[in-house]
């Protein structure tokens, strides 16, 4: 007769985590220093929990086999934290073991926005990227006029789409790219439209860099807070049909290229504490609405709305993120032909 202990009839009931009053929820000995979604951590446990959360999520996602991954890096808080977490994860892989490394190869993709925002600390951002020792692809915003694939330039070649468009986006004689960029943005009336255009150009540039450097996946640094804000702003701009593509955790936007947003597991607050406690440098990257009242653009309004709401109803951001996971893009959004202009 088998003398192995009998299997328990049913799985043991889940017990509540034991809490020690006024102590960290993990180690139960140190003083808590931060509360995230009403759970209180000490410094060391918080950093460890963040790293574990990131790695667990990253090891579950599917990436095209054998292709490199591009880390989109703007220099801001979220993408700096993401860069650090990704690099640490890759370095933690023990060479000589059978296990595959987390990423087949890493490339940093950075868009230099100094043509529009001269205050961007571009040198510091590039230095931060160089510290990692990875290859860093850099594109400037004005490069949007030199792309061979979708953006702007293709139409200007007098393609069959019509000469009207060609005139619309064709270069004026002798105008430098920088001047064209300035003219493009000066021509847009509202800050909402400017933000929209900037986003389109940045996305196109990152996709182009990824394609040129042979990456099959792009990691974008949108935090949970950012995702919720963007979801509200996109909904208010009538783009509900493509929400899952624009802010989903994983989306196939550009043909076979996968876009992932690993930082959507983290609130903006968590990222701020993570950077501070790990000594990660981050830069303040200004936008069109920086420093202006909330009523200047839809994006800024959505940000103020979500931040205020999340202060009073703590689970707002995570609920919005969960809601988005339950949506899927309409067929039209998947099969839509690229816009002639952008």
């Amino acid at each position: 007769m088998c003398d192995a202990p009998a299997m328990p009839a049913a799985a043991p009931a889940r017990t509540r985590r034991t809490l020690v009053p006024n102590k960290c929820v993990k180690c139960k000995s140190a003083q808590p220093r931060v509360a995230v979604r009403q759970i209180r951590y000490c410094k060391a446990c918080f950093v460890q929990a963040s790293v574990t959360k990131f790695r667990t999520a990253q090891s579950k996602v599917h990436r095209p086999v054998g292709t490199k991954t591009m880390v989109a890096f703007s220099g801001g808080a979220a993408s700096s934290a993401m860069l650090r977490l990704v690099v640490d994860f890759q370095n933690a892989w023990r060479k000589g073991t059978d296990a595959e490394p987390p990423y087949a190869g890493l490339v940093i993709g950075h868009v230099d926005e100094s043509a529009l925002f001269p205050d961007v600390p571009e040198d510091a951002i590039r230095a931060e990227a160089a510290k990692t020792g990875l290859v860093c692809e850099i594109a400037t915003l004005e490069d949007a006029f030199a792309l061979d694939t979708p953006v702007l330039a293709t139409v200007a070649r007098g393609s069959d789409t019509g000469s009207v468009y060609a005139q619309l986006v064709g270069p004026a004689d002798g105008m430098s790219r920088k001047a064209r960029l300035a003219a493009l943005f000066a021509g847009l009336g509202s800050i909402t439209d400017k933000e929209d255009m900037l986003e389109i150009i940045k996305t196109a540039l990152i996709a182009d860099m990824a394609r040129r450097s042979g990456c099959g996946a792009v990691l974008m640094g949108d935090s949970a807070t950012r995702v919720a804000v963007r979801a509200m702003a996109l909904t208010s701009r009538g783009r509900g049909f493509s929400l899952p593509l624009d802010v989903g955790a994983e989306a196939q936007w550009f043909g076979r290229m996968v876009v992932q947003r690993p930082m959507r597991e983290f609130l903006a607050k968590e990222i701020a504490f993570f950077n501070r406690w790990t000594g990660q440098q981050d830069a303040t990257v200004p936008g069109f609405a920086t420093g202006l009242p909330k009523s200047v653009s839809i994006g800024r309004l959505a940000e103020a709305f979500i931040v205020e709401l999340d202060r009073d109803f703590a689970s707002t951001v995570s609920t919005v993120c969960r809601t988005l996971q339950k949506l899927e893009p309409r067929e039209e959004a998947r099969t839509a032909r690229p816009c002639t202009l952008c």
């Binding site: 509202s190 909402t192 701009r237 009538g238 839809i298 709305f305 609920t319 809601t323 996971q325």
Partner: protein, 376 residues
Amino acid sequence: MPRQCDICQGARAIIRRPKTGQRVCKECFFRAFETEVHNTIVDNALFRRGDRIGIGASGGKDSTVLAYVMKTLNERYDYGLELFLLSIDEGISGYRDDSLETVKRNRDQYGLPLKIVSYEQLYGWSMDRIVEAVGRKNNCTFCGVFRRQALDRGALMLDLDHIVTGHNADDVAETILMNILRGDIPRLGRCTEITTAGDGYIGRSKPLKYAYEKEIVMYAYLKRLDYFSTECTYSPNAYRGYARQFIKDLEAVRPSAIIDIIHSGEAMKVASGVAMPVATTCGRCGYISSNAICKACALLDGLERGIPKLGVSRSSRDADGAPARAGGAGAAVEPVHFERLRERALALRRQRLGGAEPEPCDAAGAACRCAGTECQ
């Protein structure tokens, strides 16, 4: 220099339409507003000739405009509809009693028959008493759940085919945002539909779904309609307040944002793997429900047992831990079963079609023949 109307190029423009940016004169505005509602009705095939339509009338600006426009369009385009005003008396003194006076004046002004059903009559609880038991917080849950059902009950009492409500574009946009914020996926899918099935017998629709609140107010003001404009005396819903303010701010930045949100909501698609609640009927009152007992019955049960948090709070501790007060807080009216209401509605229809007058009910209690629709 005064600007001319963008449409007729003749009269002086008095309003800039938020939806189109056009500056229009009074007459062109009326015509455009009414034609848009007419197009909404025709494009979505909301009604059939001969339908008996109940207009949910609260006396506020939306329902007053809806009643006026429905009556006007019914005559102008010969829809062949029989219109009724259907009001719910929640029993909020200092608010509903005054607004019902407005509805009564509307009844006389528009010559439409009016039916008022009260919470007191249907459930044995007025909102004033519910607030006494529940407190100022969360009482909107009771009011909203009861009202939804009360409208269907009222419609069955009148044997209506369809109910129209005065929800405007701002309301729909607000609801879409609220459902995203609360993660209410089933409602997110439903809230943008112009017609909902109701309890499976009576359809419901929102003919003003694409009309901006601003235009409705302008319409009511310029037509000098008689409406009641006071906020409910019980605390406004804080969460909804945020969404409402956001919509107003958005409208200031980009007036088309409201209609954009509605289009966004209509285009959202729930992923195929997401579990959705299955509609069934309440075991107690026969109303459509996703649980064995519908929300209204669960709330009533909580009120009766003196634990009003039952059915409101998500925490089971609130319901289980709270001791039931001896005897409960009130003596309720057992809500009439929907099956009986439907039978009565069918009988009314047969009698109407057969030309005979419906038999009056004069015997409350066991001998009642009207399912509580007349004798109570």
